[in-house]
Symmetry: C5
Subunit: 368 residues, 5 copies
């Protein structure tokens, strides 16, 4: 039972809103009204700002948005990271500061938003699913959004835990070209980090499929079926999260926005390439999983057949024997055989002969 | 049995016309002849008019069309809502007043019309399916049509009950920007409200799938199969209603009609995005439902196998034992064993030994 | 058995030519050679001509082609209807009169020709399948071709029975705009009539599917399977007849031929819309039929399982009891229990106890 | 067993080269090196030349290439037909004479080449599969290639037997327009002849499917399954041969080569139309065959179920009866019933009552 | 068991990185950092250089990169072949010498990179999978990359063993046009060699499918199922390796790079043609394999049915007989038949009559 819970997909993945009540209230609501659709959290929202040029770097992480936003410097490249989405008023404040369209903010807050990119003339919007290392509870999705402006990147993430620590290190240490490049290169590095992080998830999928295939070949059980079903469900939801990425990164590359420099485009094409590789792997896994499913059904049926076959053969050897015993258990007054001294022995010989004959017949027909 | 009725799809969904007789009469009929294809209703058709500018608002809802249409004011934005489609003469009157093409009116009246948008130079036609909150009788579809003119929106709905009350409130209270914008923005708000209302339907689908999966894993029964079949049927019909929307909203955005202002286009793109999300969810549900179907078949077959296995094993343990009992039930005059005092005990020992041996064999083969 | 014949598809649908001999003779034959591929009929070919302006109408229907063609008047709109295709010489005569390309005539005569439209500069060719009301013998297909010229429409139909009577009435009565419009509008009315006539066929399909679903849920039998198979076959052939229509009507609309006036185009788009609706319905029916097929297989298997289960349980309750009876039927001289006065009663108690225990076990395992 | 061999696909169809050794030697080989990949034949290659204008015709068929090629006359239309491909040196000679690209010759010799058309500025290359009338050994494929030059057609065929005799007759008799037209029209006539010859193959497929469906409905057997499997295999390979034709004929029509005159294009479009019809028929056959496959599985399973059901019911009626007989076969000293005079009769009555009760129960449950 | 191991796919194919640890370290890492993702090898990397004009040829193969690179001569055509990828520093050195983009080097080192081509203005990058002759361990994939510059080709291969020996011979012997052409022709010859080498792999697939089909028809076993499953897995992975090639070769042809001369384009189109043929074959194999899978399931089920049927029939003949024997084994004091002298004989006659009747009934129902 432990196992089944392990693969279960959190309910929020199948429903597109958290609470029915909430949904009904917002239908017909004006589009500018901001509603956060994820799980409410008790932590206070943190804001993180990195403001840097090739030579200088200022960094702050605080729960006071106003304090942190003072570090924002138009003459530098700025990364403003909002950690936590449940305070819609704060998000609204950020939206006003950076002059963001209400529909963009709506997409930032809607954790069920599919990956997309949109060009708002003076800034680009990009949203993607971030996967955290897979734990026993299955894959943990996180809705992350980016806004790329002329000299800033806004990022919005749901939870404090993220996978950008290496990037932070690079920014601080000024190692590599990350500090010497523009905001669009940093933007590329964020997406690249997230897409690269898809591979371990894929690998854990491959491992699970291999492991289930082994289990199916060795000892298929009902719990194997439930694991297969859960893996399939997980795969369907994963594909739903990743598939739109192809189109949205392609849109980024094709957009004629001057926010993305010529030499960054090649890097984006590299991400596009990786995305296609991820999608193709998911397709391959689906095919492989389908194969394991077929194998399961055939294995279970083969095993059942084997049991039925051996036992049925057993019964059909004893059935004529029992019949013969029944014959001589009859109480007719005149059954000549019963009087013979060697009668009993002869019956035994007959029975053994019949049993051997049947065994030989079954073996000749390859039923044994 | 209650349950089966719950999911049944009303017959009108599978047939494209109400009555065969009616159909045969209209084949070859000239296209301008108006025929209403939905259920006839006894209520009188109501007309509702909202005529407003940012500062003023006039509102009327009455069963006298002529009375209400007087509120129509060319200098304001007007929303004319026709509630009920079964009076084709009234529809014809509206068509003449607003100079509508006969084919457009035909589409308004044909409740089986798939979602589409069409550009008639001086007005745009848009038709869509509205879903009412799902009741025990399944999803309730309603055919709704809109005509967007320069300063008016015509809407045609089948039944008095609708989901636009929040919009009416907004219009009355002048809260938000709805009164300060043009007819095309109001038009967007109508479609947005309808598309937003698809989400609760999707969620109830997700819930049903989850619930059926649970039922299949716990205790699959014939009624579960019927529920699965009905859910699948519902999904197929839902997809048929929603799929054409993608194309028709895309056509709206791409149309070069000057009835839709530049800044409204971004809002329409937001609806387009939602529509794709709805369609992708339906595709996901189809995959998930297919998975549950497979699970059902495997679960039923596993359960059957379990029963057959245990019982077959039971029989095959008793078969040789019964045979032995048969042997010593024979009436041969000379069966030496029968005379031994310990004969009976020895047979018991033999039988128990055979039973244990078979049990051990079966367990070693993992059949138990 | 009556039922099976009912749905059977006439063999001509699967073979593309009537007779093998005929085919082999025509392979490599020059394309201008006219061969009629349908069933030969004994009736003489009839010709029908309607020649009209808004004010006048001349009408003739006769078996003498020459007589009827005299009514053809270049200054009016003319509808020339050839009823029966088996007289290739007559068809050739018509072809010469109207200057038709040999390949066009080939398509007119080939009843297996898929729907298509082709633009021959000074006339348009359009061929389509007409469905007659479905009888007990299944759907009756008819190959109908149209040639639209500047002021005439040629139509070629296989059989005297058609669905154009209402149109004839309209022409005679001068009701509606049919007489005041040009040849292209009449052309639209023909196609519209034929496409409208697809709906009753669709509805009868929907009815059959519903009816079979009911049958499958209530009492699935082998004959149900054969009905399902025949319905599927019918659906496959129907899709093959209708699917190419999408493309061919789209080609009509996109063709820049000046034979089709601007305002007729919107009418053709309406037909296009209907065609897509028909195709989508057929796709939906395929999905629904697939669902009923699955349901059938599951229902049959469930029913079988139920039988097997109850009967197997029955046997496995009696097997240990019969074994016990066998034990005390043995003829050992010394079986102490046999001598006890209450022995027989005790065995009955034991047997009933075992039976109840097993029943309780089976029920606890939910096998009953 | 005869039957199985009948449908078997010759191995060459699944492998793309004749001999592994040969393949390994040619990998990395320079593209100009000519290798014939079909079956070697002992016959000497024949060459056939038709050189004609509307008024004259010279014709030769000989095993001496040089002799025949002398008939080639630049001022006439020439058809040069090479019969047999196994003499690569001769093919090379032809290639040099007509200035053909080495890759073109490679495609001529590779009998596994898929249908394609390629434009080599001063000549067009076209390759297609020719089907001979289906014999007991299944469909016989032949790889045929054409080169269309300004005033010549080269054709390359594997075997002496072909389907062009009618064309030869037409050329000789100067009947029809074949002699008065240019090389491109003759080219069209060749392809048309080959494509027309696909129809009898399709028809024989349709016949086989019908016949197998009948067999499945009447008396499904293991050999039926093998026939179905072989038909499916044949269909897959047929589709693989025909599908690329769509694209390659479309390329011919779209090519702006001035080798194909304007009025020939319409003829090619007619072939294109036929090709699509052939492909659609193959798709339809696949669907139909899938249906027959399902029907087979269901029929076999239904038949098995019927056997099992009747026999299981039989056993379960006798099981309680045998138990009762066992009861009164026990040797207890005190079994009161045994002493009653009417005891034996009462047991018979009891047994018959139980049997009837069970039969009634089974019938009420519709198991009988 | 040998057999199962034979088809197993090496784990590296399902996981996209070798070691999880490694992966986690590189996520978020800057793109220029080179990581080799294949198996580490102990051999020293070799470098091979062919520098030639039509008249001269210099050739070297050594483990000292610096030594070999001295042979590089800008005025000749150069082929620089790096054998072994595990020394990232050396690769970096090569990258600097030829001015290669870091992303290009990343793709060279990532053995899981899907086939692609990319245009870097002054050089073209192309990567493809090379298949070595299939051994008992299944297909051996190798990641090979090419860089085509103005007068050089760089090639990177993982292992010393390759399939280019014939090309080396051609270069040395100056036979054919390979030395007289430019670098792009040599580039074509490399790809052509690799794609040609796909055919034997395809053929071995075809052979395996045929062989498994034979096995399924003759004697289907559990091991057959495992072989089928492994073949399917292999096919899925093969398709994943080959499918992207279509697009990447098409991109090569369409690229307007002046590195590829006009007359080389036709050669590339020939490769494109071969690639499509390979992909179509793989699709065909998938269909065929699916057919064999179905055949397996049906065969196993048919065989099981046969066993069950015969044995069940056997039991149901003996069941009534044993019942009769039971009747006359009862110990009632008054059973009149027991006293008759001919009673025993009569029972035998009755039993044989019943057995014959049942046999006749079963045969009439065609169950035997």
């Amino acid at each position: 039972m432990k196992n089944r819970i392990k693969y279960i997909i959190p309910k929020v993945n199948l429903r597109s809103f958290v609470a029915k009540d909430q949904v009904e209230q917002t239908i017909g609501e004006m589009p500018g009204l901001l509603v956060y659709t994820g799980y409410k959290r008790s932590e206070i929202i943190e804001t993180e700002v990195f403001s840097f040029t090739e030579k200088e770097l200022e960094e702050i992480r605080t729960t006071h948005y106003e304090e942190s936003i003072e570090k924002y410097n138009e003459n530098r490249v700025n990364w403003v990271n909002i950690i936590g989405l449940h305070d819609t008023q704060l998000i609204d404040k950020v939206g006003k500061k950076f002059n963001l369209h209400p529909l963009l903010l709506e997409d930032v807050l809607n954790v069920e938003q599919r990956p997309k990119s949109e060009d708002f003339d003076n800034h680009l919007f990009f949203t993607i699913k971030m996967f955290h290392q897979q734990t026993e509870k299955g894959i943990e999705y996180e809705h992350v959004s980016f806004v790329l402006g002329k000299n800033y990147i806004l990022s919005f993430q749901e939870k404090p835990k993220d996978i950008f620590n290496l990037l932070r290190e690079r920014l601080r240490s000024s190692f590599g070209k990350i500090r010497s490049k523009h905001a669009d290169y940093l933007f590329y590095r964020f997406i690249d980090t997230i897409v690269d992080n898809y591979y371990p998830v894929l690998d854990s999928f491959a491992d699970k499929i291999e492991q289930l295939e082994e289990e199916v070949m060795q000892n298929p059980q009902t719990s194997t079926l439930h694991k297969l079903q859960n893996l399939r469900k997980e795969l369907i939801l994963l594909r739903k999260s990743v598939n739109p990425l192809r189109e949205s990164i392609s849109a980024l590359i094709k957009s004629e926005s001057n926010l993305i420099r010529k030499d960054t485009e090649r890097y984006l094409m590299d991400i596009y390439d990786h995305t296609i590789q991820v999608i193709e792997s998911l397709d391959t896994y689906r095919d492989l999983l389908g194969g394991v499913m077929d194998l399961y059904m055939n294995s279970v049926s083969n095993r059942m057949n084997e049991i039925m076959k051996v036992l049925t053969i057993m019964s059909s050897i004893f059935i004529p024997l029992t019949f013969i015993a029944g014959i001589y258990g009859m109480n007719f007054e005149y059954i000549p055989e019963l009087g013979y001294k060697w009668g009993y022995g002869a019956v035994w010989v007959l029975m053994i002969a019949i049993a051997l004959l049947l065994l030989w017949l079954f073996r000749r027909k390859r039923w044994l």
